[in-house]
């Protein structure tokens, strides 16, 4: 319930995301928590934004390198701090910019280190997932009915 409420307030489908890649190091590490806001009309160069590319499974969190806008639209070019080149190669064929209204899922405004690493362990590490389930099963033995 709070999640949906937070989603509405921030206008972002996913108001809190966990960093999954190392493309923004040393700023962000895998497992860090990012807080998103999506009520801003425009982004500024330097903002860290989250965007989706059709066909790619996970959203990308990168920094805005260039922006071009008029009163109706804004076009952005992004780049990961830890990548040697900008994201042009990640976009769809013939897509040279991200459209602020269509492609941007949120702008990062807040940060918390490492707290999300548990979710990465649960989804990626089989031993951790079964170990956790085993622990839960064990703890039910010690509960009173």
């Amino acid at each position: 319930m709070t999640w949906k409420g937070l989603s509405i307030v921030t206008n972002a489908e996913s108001p809190i995301v966990v960093v999954l890649t190392g493309s923004m190091e040393p700023a962000f590490q895998r497992g860090d928590l990012l807080f998103l806001w999506n009520r801003n009309a425009r982004n500024a160069v330097g903002d860290v934004v989250v965007y989706n590319i059709e066909g790619k499974p996970i959203p990308i969190v990168h920094r805005v390198l260039r922006e071009h806008h008029n009163d109706k639209k804004q076009f952005l070019l992004t780049k990961g701090d830890n990548n040697p080149v900008d994201d042009l190669g990640l976009y769809k064929r013939k897509q040279q910019y991200l459209d602020k209204d269509k492609d941007i899922m949120g702008t990062v405004y807040g940060y918390m280190p490492r707290v999300g690493y548990v979710t990465i362990l649960i989804t990626e590490n089989q031993y951790f997932k079964f170990g956790l389930l085993g622990l839960l099963a064990l703890s039910s033995l010690f509960q009173r009915e």
Binding site: L141, F142, Q143, R144
Partner: protein
């Protein structure tokens, strides 16, 4: 199987529970303030984390085991009385 929860119960009395509750809050929240101070003065973020980790462990050690301090006022149960039933 049913005896498992009893094995790890380690109960404390009611007065002890109140003491434990107050002590928990005292230790953790003053420890939190201290941790922030330690980090700020040493201008190191990680020191705050280390300091609070220490506070947390200290609090666990002070509160979780059933120390005799928490069992000073055991509950006095009434003794069963013998009743004569007159028919």
């Amino acid at each position: 199987m049913d005896a498992l929860p009893d094995l790890i119960e380690f109960p404390i009395d009611f007065v002890g529970q109140r003491k434990a509750n107050r002590l928990t809050n005292l230790l953790l929240f003053s420890g939190a303030a201290l941790s922030v101070l330690v980090g700020f003065v040493s201008q190191s973020f990680i020191n705050t984390i280390y300091a609070f980790a220490g506070v947390f462990v200290l609090t666990l050690v002070a509160i979780v085991p059933a120390w005799p301090y928490f069992n000073k006022n055991p509950v006095v149960w009434l003794k069963p009385k013998k009743i004569e039933i007159l028919l």
